[in-house]
């Protein structure tokens, strides 16, 4: 894959407030990248800078080997979809989608066939005569997508496109956008604060915090190998335990000793990050290592499985959360106060 978009040393200050700091990022042609982070982390500002709707305080942007750092939005090459849809309410769906085509002096018949094609592409053929207010939120967002794609831009920018939709529609549109993007091969950047959305859609995720990039990686990398405590905490659920690492791959948590893959020259205190699915309740055979016994402290029912919090004097009463299926809980007659053994997977532990 060839590189398409380069961000180099992007800075953005609002007065004394540093909104973005030292952003370096390269995005390949055809890639689907998500900017993920909590609100106020600068992800939307970065998107708007790429669009030219804001200008960066410093740094350069190259798109398709063209320096666009100082170009106004109208001279850049992108289509954009906003959370609010921003459809023109007084224009029909047809006119909305055709909005960017008409201006390019495209022949009328060609415009009409292109609009038809786009409406089909987003799954709303024949809705051209309607007005935006007559469509549901999800349908309006599909139209906004069609409008953004109408002029075949090289880059598609999506600013929290799904956050105004209800949960079901959001999940449905997620996959539609993803498959549409694959089909068209258009390089896409999506801003979102929803980690599940980012994990399910992106080729690569850019995790941002306080105006800086924390980690860039595939969904699996970001989830399995978070490089900072922030990423570990923000993406997915995670247990954080206090422990002490000894030379020779030995880890002390509370009064217990566990084996781990982490080497250290000298003894030191660590924070251990471990996903709930990396703490196992089964299978545990007698004699297995890295096992401790605990008591159930709280059960949060989430449908087919439950989030179960376990405390154990063996690890200093630090709570550990695990996923247990509803069936397993019933089978084993587990309830608050029940005791059960748990096994930690050493290879999945992250230390900070």
């Amino acid at each position: 894959m060839t590189d398409y978009l380069h961000l180099q040393g992007i800075e953005k200050n609002f007065g004394a407030f540093r909104a973005l700091h030292d952003i370096h990022l390269t995005i390949a042609r055809g890639e689907f990248v998500c900017f993920l982070g909590p609100s106020g982390c600068g992800k939307t500002t970065l998107l708007r800078i790429i669009a030219g709707l804001e200008s960066q305080s410093a740094g350069t942007i190259r798109q398709a080997d063209r320096d666009i750092s100082r170009l106004p939005p109208a001279e850049r090459d992108y289509g954009i979809v906003f959370q609010s849809y921003a459809l023109f309410p007084n224009l029909s769906i047809f006119d909305n989608v055709a909005y960017g085509l008409v201006n390019r002096k495209t022949p009328r018949a060609q415009v009409a066939s292109r609009v038809d094609e786009l409406l089909k592409l987003v799954g709303l053929p024949g809705s051209g005569a309607k007005f935006p207010a007559q469509l549901s939120g999800g349908q309006q967002q599909r139209i906004a997508l069609a409008r953004a794609l109408a002029t075949s831009p090289g880059l598609l920018l999506l600013d929290e496109p799904l956050s105004a939709l209800d949960a079901l529609e959001r999940v449905r549109l997620r996959q539609e956008i993803r498959s549409l993007q694959r089909k068209l091969g258009v390089t896409t950047i999506m801003v979102t604060h929803d980690q599940e959305e980012a994990l399910s859609m992106a080729d690569r995720i850019v995790v941002m915090n306080q105006g800086a990039i924390e980690q860039v990686g595939t969904p699996m990398e970001v989830y399995r190998d978070p490089t900072t405590p922030f990423v570990a905490d923000f993406v997915g659920k995670i247990n954080v335990l206090d422990g002490r690492l000894h030379p020779g791959g030995s880890l002390h948590i509370g009064a217990s000793r566990f084996a781990c893959g982490q080497q250290t020259a000298a003894e030191r205190d660590v924070k251990i990050y471990l996903r709930p699915e990396d703490v196992l309740a089964r299978p545990i055979a007698p004699g297995d290592s890295n096992v401790f016994n605990g008591a159930i402290d709280k059960i949060e029912f989430l449908g087919s499985y439950c989030l179960v919090r376990v405390t154990s004097p063996e690890i200093g009463q630090q709570p550990v959360t695990v996923y247990l299926s509803l069936n397993y809980l019933a089978e084993q007659n587990l309830e608050v106060g029940s005791r059960l053994p748990l096994r930690l997977l050493p290879e999945r532990m992250r230390f900070f």
Binding site: N13, G15, A16, F17, R18, A19, A51, G52, L53, S55, Q56, S57, A58, G59, S69, R70, L71, P72, P73, A74, E75, R76, Y78, G79, I80, F82, S84, Y85, A86, F88, P89, N90, L91, Y99, G100, N103, R104, K130, F131, P132, A133, Q134, R147, A148, A150, T151, P153, Q210, G211, A212
Partner: protein, 573 residues
């Protein structure tokens, strides 16, 4: 890692402006220059004149000290202040109860009551003064009643106070209706659940909630009376006030310097009002959250009946006031022959001057509505929806709000000083209808501007961003999207300009020439000449024209709405 760092001195990277951005900047600059020339400079010249001797040499505050040494002018100042205070103290509580009845009771005919009390806005304010003369003047229909109260004459302070109360009432009422409509039902429900008495609820929820509205209404009333010119001119007799003084000083005695001093005195309360109001508005918006539940009044027979009676009395007084002018304008020869005739109308209209004046007024109103709406809306659009030129925007914002703080009389004064300057290249505009239109547009700019800004802010902020990404220049989006969506607001702005241009006296009284005399000013001249009947007829004609215009604008608004707002209908309707 802290997100705060010391301000870096490195020059920020600047985006290149697109040629369409440059067009926007040019238009914004044009609006700024226009507001500067037709608002800021004339006002600045008042200040200059106040500090100059008649020969133009700088004399510091000498004009002020000589003013303060003149007992007759000081007396006018005192008159203006106490009359304004008295009218405020009388009108605001009356309007508050009326607004309370309209918003918090279940009395019948609310729409009718509201319409009746707002009708005075369609006529020049001095209509109430003319009516008062017919009721209580030397040949008045109810002169005896006046004497029973111990006044022997309506001319002077009593007439001014009563007429101003009527003229100011609708203005105070509109503010108070708005203030009382902003009620959160949840507060009342919570209070009721806690067993709070009705009286306590009024003093702990209603009154504090309407506090800012009350302050605003009081300030507006005070300023309106202080700066009103028509009423004291018609019914003031020998009772001098600041507003009439300015006119006498400038037009009568050509004493521009002292006129400027009085002008600055008139500007003071208005500027204070403006500042306080602005401060209050910022607090007011924070009061009512998005989750507030609108209050729906509950039936209460005794309370509703009391409110109905109150409103009937007020509305009857209003109708008596409006009705008398209408009745008298049709009376053949007041008070001896009351048979209806069109004598005053034909006399006025046949007398070519009044007929021409009326045509001039219509021209002024139409011109103001057309150009005012265009300038205000384009200005507001450039301000709110375009990018770049960041240094210019706060200036435009300030200039657009400034007219609210400038009484018409002061603006007119500034126009004389500025456009009458022999060296001014715009001198040619002096006495023309063009200048009258420009002055009226500036005079009423702020309300139109705020209406336009509100309408524009209701639009999705990303329309312009989407257009730019689709390479569609902003003016196409303005034409295809913004303008069609905002047509209802445009019609509102045009109507506001039209009505005010029809009825205004204060600013234009300094600026007309025999060729550009206006109907509202013809009233003053007729009254001065003792032709009270034709004066009443002329005032009624203006009110009628304003009413017809309002109805036409409303009809046009409906038609436009049907034509352009079809998209607001959800599916299947």
């Amino acid at each position: 890692m802290s997100a705060v760092l010391p301000l870096s001195k490195a020059p920020s990277l600047v985006q290149r402006a697109h040629w369409t951005d440059r067009i926007a900047h040019a238009v914004l600059l044009a609006v700024t220059v226009a507001l500067f020339v037709f608002l800021a400079l004339p006002l600045f010249l008042i200040l200059i004149k106040a500090l100059q001797a008649p020969d133009g040499s700088f004399i510091g505050l000498a004009n002020f000290t000589s003013y303060l040494a003149s007992p007759s002018l000081l007396q006018s100042l005192w008159h203006s202040v106490w009359v304004s205070l008295l009218v405020t103290v009388v009108t605001v509580p009356l309007a508050f109860v009326f607004a309370y009845a309209l918003t918090r009771s279940c009395m019948p005919f609310k729409g009718l009551f509201r319409t009746i009390t707002l009708v005075p806005l369609l006529a020049p304010s001095l209509l109430s003064a003319i009516s008062l003369i017919y009721w209580f003047g030397n040949q008045g229909a109810a002169r005896g009643t006046l004497q029973a109260f111990g006044f022997d004459n309506i001319y002077g302070a009593p007439g001014v106070v009563i007429a101003e109360c009527f003229a100011v009432f609708p203005h105070a009422l509109m503010i108070l209706i708005t203030a009382l409509s902003l009620a959160d039902a949840r507060l009342y429900e919570a209070a009721a659940a806690l067993g709070t008495s009705t009286r306590r609820r009024f003093f702990t929820i209603t009154l504090p909630g309407a506090k800012y509205g009350l302050i605003s209404a009081a300030l507006v009333s005070f300023t309106l009376v202080m700066t009103d010119f028509g009423i004291p001119k018609v019914i003031g007799g020998n009772f001098n006030m600041l507003a009439t003084d300015v006119f006498k000083l400038v037009i009568g005695q050509q004493d521009f310097q002292r006129g400027a001093v009085v002008g600055l005195l008139l500007l003071t309360p208005a500027v204070v009002t403006f500042a306080v109001d602005w401060f209050i508005q910022r607090k007011q918006t924070a009061m009512l959250g998005a989750r507030a539940v609108p209050l729906r009044p509950k039936r209460s027979p005794r309370f509703d009946a009391a409110m109905t009676i109150y409103c009937v009395v007020i509305a009857a007084l209003m109708l008596a006031m409006i009705g008398m002018a209408v009745f008298a304008s049709f009376a053949s020869f007041w008070p001896y022959n009351l048979t209806p005739s069109l004598k005053h109308y034909t006399m006025g209209l046949v007398d070519a001057e009044v007929g021409d004046a009326f045509v001039n007024s219509l021209k002024l109103a139409a011109g103001t509505a057309l150009f005012g709406t265009a300038i205000v809306f384009v200005g507001a659009y450039m301000l709110e929806k375009t990018r770049g030129a960041t240094a210019l925007r706060p200036i435009v914002r300030l200039l657009a709000m400034l007219p609210m703080a400038v009484p018409g009389l002061v603006l007119g004064l500034g126009y004389i000083f500025f456009f009458n300057l022999p060296d001014n290249p715009l001198n040619g505009l002096y006495h023309t209808l063009t200048l009258l239109v420009l002055c009226t547009v500036v005079h009423f700019y702020t309300t139109g501007h705020l209406t336009a800004v509100t309408a524009l802010k209701a639009l999705d902020a990303e329309f312009e961003a989407v257009s730019a990404s689709l390479k569609v220049p902003f003016y196409k989006t303005f034409w295809r999207v913004t303008l069609p969506i905002c047509t209802p607001a445009l019609v509102d702005i045009a109507r506001y300009f039209f009505i005010n241009a029809m009825t205004t006296i204060s600013a234009v009284v300094f600026l007309y020439s025999p060729d550009t005399k206006l109907a509202s000013i013809a009233i003053l001249n007729l009254d001065e000449a003792g032709d009270t009947g034709p004066a009443a007829a002329c005032a009624v004609l203006i009110a009628a024209a304003s009413t017809v215009a309002t109805l036409l604008f409303m009809g046009f608004g409906r038609w436009i709405e049907r034509r352009t707002q079809a998209w607001r209908q959800p599916a299947g309707q």
